[in-house]
């Protein structure tokens, strides 16, 4: 074990002392901070804009304002639905129910300062300002009915901002329906009343009678969180394997090109050397991913602490993460998957003399890794799919798919059998990869001489 530790220590320190490691470590939190700040800044700094509608009456203008009011009502309802899962005080719930929880409006209607587009041009181009509730501002957009009455023309200096036009289009569609209903002798709110009377389709989670008595049948975030946690774990494993390719390849190439194997192999056993190297790369990627995870967790805690009762949003995920029936098989799959893929990449690296040779291996490796990614995607969408059932018995997919299937309570015998197959496959790969590694590292077999590799792997005294 001491030798494994010393190999691990040297490799680990070698990696973490490199600038690239710290850049990678800092990059994700930095991008998260920059991205989050940018999104918040963009939302907060988005200007409030004035628009006007040129029409004799205020039919179109009222329809557009009505559409904005409906959007606000929808946003308020979504906020109330989210708050229903949070531990808020009765006062906070009451305030949320009675108040407007929608974000502030970004478009405010002002009276049209002129009637024709020629006269409105200076206002739309910012040469003249219009007065409104937020003071004097340029006119952002104006709606003018076309002369034939078939079009509501939208004029603006910035046609890339499409939100106002989209709202107006929805408003005109709603207005047309209301007029049609009215002409048919039906009330303007006829369709809304019909919709309101439709049967609601509510989701229920089937449980045992005893569980249902205590937990009810309502579908909550606690029901969905295990799927998200398992999905996250499977993706985390994939990402980890994806990111170790270059570490394992380059690390082994460095040793091969530095002609260091003979020195090492007179000091440590080959198995100790491989174990130390594999652990070191595992620790490097774990350091990165755990750091990123802790940062994301800290950021989530901070974000939820800023919202009253927000901490309760995280608790179902934490509970799912602490659930032994998910996390134990998940971790076993994770470790076996890492050993399987790690040994494959390390063995291939031992056959390469140069980075160019390693690069020729990267494409097939990427393809090998994209297959589980597709499987993860399908399993996340439909974990009961027969193809996922079949694929979960294929060892290259098992580590990912077993994790994803755990929240859906697969039969115990399947879990045990799949883990056993995975363990046997990992052992077989370990044995084979050790042979390849010895052929490459000790006997100098190269990727361009696969026949020689096999000969050296299975020669009687290959060791």
């Amino acid at each position: 074990m001491r030798n494994v530790y010393l190999i691990f220590r040297r490799d680990y320190l070698g990696y973490v002392r490199a600038w690239g490691f710290w850049l990678s470590l800092a990059a994700v939190p930095l991008f998260m901070i920059i991205g989050g700040t940018f999104a918040i800044f963009a939302a907060k700094s988005s200007p409030v804009r004035y628009y006007a509608v040129v029409e004799p009456a205020s039919v179109y203008a009222d329809a557009i304002e009505g559409e904005f009011a409906l959007d606000d009502a929808d946003a308020s309802q979504q906020a109330r639905d989210l708050a229903a899962n949070m531990d808020l005080s009765p006062e906070q719930h009451a305030a949320l129910q009675s108040g407007n929880a929608a974000p502030p409006r970004k478009f405010i209607r002002v009276p049209a300062p002129a009637r024709s587009i020629d006269d409105l041009r200076p206002y739309l181009m910012g040469e003249r300002l219009v007065s409104g509730p937020l003071g004097d501002k340029p006119l952002f957009a104006v709606f003018i009915p076309s002369t034939d009455g078939k079009d509501l023309e939208y004029w603006s200096d910035d046609v890339n901002v499409g939100a106002l036009r989209a709202t107006a289009a929805n408003a005109m569609r709603r207005l047309a329906r209301q007029q049609a209903l009215s002409e048919a002798g039906l009330g303007a709110d006829f369709l809304d009343r019909v919709d309101a009377n439709a049967l609601q389709v509510s989701a229920h989670r089937i449980r045992t009678v005893a569980d249902q008595t205590t937990a009810g049948s309502e579908v909550t975030m606690a029901d969905r969180a295990p799927v998200f946690v398992a999905g996250g774990l499977a993706y985390f494993l994939w990402l980890m394997i994806f990111s170790i390719i270059q570490y394992l390849l380059m690390g082994t190439i460095e040793e091969r090109s530095n002609k260091i194997f003979d020195t090492l192999l007179t000091s440590v056993k080959l198995t100790e050397l491989l174990a130390g190297k594999l652990l070191a790369v595992f620790a490097v990627t774990s350091t990165m991913m755990v750091s990123w995870g802790l940062f994301a967790f800290g950021a989530s805690l901070f974000a939820t602490s800023q919202i009253p009762g927000g901490a309760s949003l995280l608790s179902p995920f934490l509970a799912a993460f602490a659930n032994p029936s998910i996390i134990i098989p998940g971790l076993i799959s994770f470790l076996l998957g890492y050993v399987m893929y790690g040994m494959i990449f390390m063995a291939l690296g031992s056959l390469c003399d140069t980075i160019q040779e390693a690069q020729t291996l990267l494409s097939p490796m990427m393809i090998l890794l994209m297959l589980p990614m597709f499987a993860i995607f399908i399993a996340f969408q439909d974990p009961g799919s027969p193809i996922i059932d079949i694929a979960s018995w294929i060892p290259v997919f098992t580590p990912f798919l077993l994790i994803l299937r755990m929240p859906h309570d697969p039969p115990l015998w399947e879990i045990v059998a799949q883990m056993l197959i995975m363990a046997l496959t990992a052992l077989a790969i370990l044995w084979l990869a050790t042979k390849v590694y010895r052929a490459g590292a000790v006997h100098g077999a190269g990727i361009g001489d696969l026949g020689g590799v096999f000969k050296r792997m299975f020669s009687r005294k290959a060791g």
């Binding site: 070698g14 002609k259 260091i260 020195t263 000091s267 440590v268 000790v442």
Partner: protein, 320 residues
């Protein structure tokens, strides 16, 4: 009874149809300096890798301190491979420390030993410099020090002088003598016979994978017999000319005016007799000298001129 550091018995190693080492038997007694000599491709490195357990012999056996080569036994061995290799991003101190710890030293002792060795070798100011920034000679010194840091009982050095300038070759010779004085047994391979002449108690000569000589320097020179060197104008065949007079002449590798020949002196004759015979045969003599025995000549006499030419090529390649 203490077991010899290395015993190889009828060890053979083949790579496909090529036999790299054939039926090698060799014993390295404790406390000796042994030179393992032969041209490139003679099977020296393969033999040493088998001795260390890096490669397994196809037949025959190897024992280190009385046991098959295994990591526990190898902790008593320091090995300098022919193909030098260090982690280029490490510093000399951390590199020596790392390899010493792999050989069983504690962190504190390994660090202290690394500092001492680097100071003694004149590399004290480069302790914390990345190896990639050191000269090739300096890096090679660091690797040699890595081999010595755990004060092994048995040092196996594969072509240790290769790549070193004459000054550092002398430094390494002194280092080998110092290790020997400390009590270490030393086996080193080389294709430069002069190092062996200066350092070794015993030599083992290899050619084409086979051992051709195993004995002391005195025995080596004794096997050669007495001789003389005669250089003649180019194109003159001294072998044919001297054969009727009872002298055997072989081409010698020395360069100089004319072509050098070594004349073996039969019992009861001396160098003057050989000179006289050459003059009588009408040889266009350029120079003449009674022979001062050299290991190279022993090798030539053992393996013949074809294999001796390979040795000359090795030396020429090294010089280049």
């Amino acid at each position: 009874m203490r077991m010899p550091p290395l015993v190889m018995t009828h060890a053979t190693k083949r790579f496909g149809a090529f036999t790299a080492v054939s039926d090698l038997s060799l014993e390295v007694p404790e406390g000796e300096i042994i030179g393992f000599l032969g041209p490139n491709g003679a099977g020296k490195s393969t033999s040493l890798r088998m001795a260390l357990g890096v490669m397994q012999p196809d037949s025959g056996s190897v024992s280190l301190f009385g046991k098959p080569p295994e990591i526990a036994t190898l902790k008593r061995v320091g090995f300098l491979p022919e193909e030098r290799g260090l982690y280029k991003k490490m510093t000399p101190r951390s590199s020596i420390e790392h390899f010493a710890r792999l050989k069983g030293l504690s962190a504190q002792v390994a660090r202290a030993r690394a500092n001492d060795l680097l100071d003694t070798a004149g590399l004290g100011e480069f302790k914390a410099t990345r190896i990639s920034k050191l000269s090739k000679g300096m890096a090679q010194k660091v690797q040699i020090l890595s081999t010595l840091a755990h004060q092994p009982d048995f040092l196996i050095l594969d072509e240790p002088f290769s790549g070193l300038d004459p000054v550092n070759q002398q430094v390494l010779e002194d280092l080998i003598r110092a290790e020997h004085a400390r009590g270490a047994t030393i086996l080193f391979s080389t294709h430069v016979m002069e190092h062996a002449e200066r350092l070794c108690d015993r030599i083992v000569m290899m050619a084409r994978g086979r051992k051709v000589f195993d004995g002391t320097l005195d025995e080596a020179f004794g096997s050669l017999g007495r001789g003389a060197r005669i250089s003649v104008a180019e194109g003159f065949d001294l072998t044919t000319a001297l054969e009727p007079k009872g002298f055997e002449a072989h081409r010698a590798p020395e360069k100089g005016p004319g072509e050098a020949w070594r004349i073996a002196l039969p019992r009861g004759t001396d160098a003057q007799d050989a000179l006289r015979a050459a003059i009588d045969a009408g040889a266009p003599i350029v120079s003449f000298a009674p022979e001062e025995a050299r290991l190279r000549d022993v090798f030539v006499s053992l393996v013949g001129e074809a294999d001796a030419a390979a040795l000359t090529e090795s030396e020429t390649g090294e010089a280049a």
